[in-house]
Symmetry: C2
Subunit: 337 residues, 2 copies
């Protein structure tokens, strides 16, 4: 009888533009043994997020690059399989940052307990996790929409965009979403409750966006980059705010770099603010978890997950996400929970 093995996916090579499956390699290894003070985690869900593409480059852009031959990074929901740390009990469900593998060792220092009573545990990677928190702080701390103002967000059916639009509406603002294709547009409008939704595949996209924003745009939550910004610019009102949390359209296409002239910022008194959610965690995470949990219970904050089965599917799923093929928050079910 063979001992069970750990499966893990490592970065095999740096992508040249769009990633391909050969950039990843599935490896097997013995399941690691926790030492005194450590835990063995069994990964249940792995989060796939756009920022991962930026970590696959040889030179890190806005955060550390994944070294070749090492496990791809990522947020995970895990079960404590074995504990040699008195603070953690076997069977507890935790949020960890264990990456693309089935088992991982933790010293317990970077874990957060997940309460399965609030929502399905996979939401700790989505609406109640990093993407939801990104939407929350980017919209409320940077965008600061006043009641009646217009908030525009792209990838409106995705993990971040869906939360941006719904939180904007909770705060009394008007939410205009941008999505790709009729299914995602219908979902954003009918299920998430966006006030208007525009399909970026439409040939007259810029005109449709202008019609959807008759009072201009007060907050443009930037999470895609590329051509959407060009349609947004002429609609920006004086004193508009542009939180920038991601540029998925540009991660594999250096030629697509969206920019904003200082003249635009001056003549309209704009605020452009790039951010990574980590800067807000200490100050704002507790409030986010409390508010967002309540909004979910009240039916005000809905979410959609796109669940892929099996760790070996992760590379193709990430590649598809970079092309906009996912529909909702993309997670990989690594082990049954």
């Amino acid at each position: 009888m063979h001992a069970p093995l750990n499966h893990r996916i490592v970065l095999a090579s740096h992508p040249d533009g769009r990633p391909v499956p050969a950039n990843f390699r599935l490896e097997t290894a013995p399941i690691p043994e926790p030492q005194e003070g450590e835990l063995l985690l069994e990964i249940l869900y792995l989060s796939l997020d756009p920022y991962m593409r930026t970590r696959m480059n040889a030179e890190g852009t806005y955060a550390d690059a994944v070294p070749l031959g090492t496990v791809m990074l990522g947020g995970t929901v895990a079960r404590v399989k074995q504990s040699r740390n008195p603070a953690w009990q076997e069977g507890e469900i935790v949020l960890s940052f264990s990456g693309w593998q089935r088992y991982a060792i933790s010293d317990g220092s970077q874990l957060r307990r997940i309460d399965p009573a609030i929502a399905p545990i996979s939401t700790a990677l989505g609406v109640l996790g990093m993407p939801g928190f990104t939407a929350y702080v980017g919209l409320l701390d940077i965008g600061r929409p006043a009641p009646g103002e217009t908030v525009v967000v792209a990838a409106a059916s995705g993990a971040v965009g869906s939360a941006v639009g719904q939180i904007a509406r909770i705060k009394g603002a008007r939410a205009v979403g941008i999505a790709g294709g009729p299914d995602k547009c219908a979902f954003a409008r009918d299920v998430l409750g966006f006030d208007a939704v525009v399909d970026h595949h439409a040939p007259d996209f810029a005109k449709q966006l202008a019609r959807a924003c008759p009072d201009g745009i007060d907050v443009y939550f930037e999470n895609v980059g590329g051509k959407v910004l060009e349609a947004v610019k002429p609609l920006l009102n004086d004193f508009a705010r542009i939180p920038v949390c991601g540029l998925i359209a540009e991660y594999s296409d250096a030629g697509a770099a969206a920019s904003i002239s200082l003249g635009d910022t001056l003549f309209k008194s704009l605020t452009v603010r790039g951010f990574i959610q980590t800067e807000f965690v200490e100050r704002r995470e507790a409030a986010f978890l409390q508010e967002a949990s309540q909004w979910i219970r009240d039916g005000l904050l809905r979410y959609r997950e796109d669940v892929v089965d099996g760790l070996e599917q992760a590379p193709q799923a990430l590649i598809g996400m970079l092309d906009g093929k996912n529909f909702g928050k993309l997670v990989v079910r690594v082990s049954g929970d």
Copy 2:
């Protein structure tokens, strides 16, 4: 005997790029008569400021354009020559916005009394006026330098830049100035007390700026645009702030438009914020006047004026300023005070 006449300079035509004297026309007219509730103001000093170039275009950019044939706009220091308004006494010195002329009518609603005991009255157009206030709110409310941080500002010997650098130092930050030519650089370093000054005429300007900022740049106060931003970008630290109050290098040269990619803002968590000082007046002007007056009395906030004699010199002086020919805050002495 002829009655004395009002002299005024009107916008004769819109400039095509760099303004020329023919864009202006000197006119004479009878001195206006104040009606009940009004004052007749005798203009003593006229402020010349870069923003005036933007008002000369046919289509206003960030504020109302001056209609052809009407008086060029501008801030002024005036003496109350005749008062039919009980709130104002003849002989009082006021800050008004009367434009390029020798006499003007006011209803008293947009005036501020100037106390000649604090500083020469012309400073109400400079260090104690709009440029000083622009520096104050842009640096303190947007730039928010922490002690020890590095603040960079161009046009360091000018009305705004000189105040930015000195206020940065008052707040414990390190001030690095950029100026054109050895005289302005020496003034910024030796009189204003900048920690380092770089001449933007130097062929290795970008390298010199890098050497002057060994710890990177935390606040870049943007008041010129053009090529300086390109040298600044690689030196910006994470979480750097860029208040944008003006782009003098671009007002007559559409090809020079400086821009910042959203990728830059994202990967360094930058804040780019365009502003016009008027948005802060209600909330911050009183604090500014109190603090800046005290700094002047204490010798902490110095200033240099470049005074041109005679209203008829205003067009050539404005044209020269747009080429960087002024040395200090440019004002026109319209009548002796």
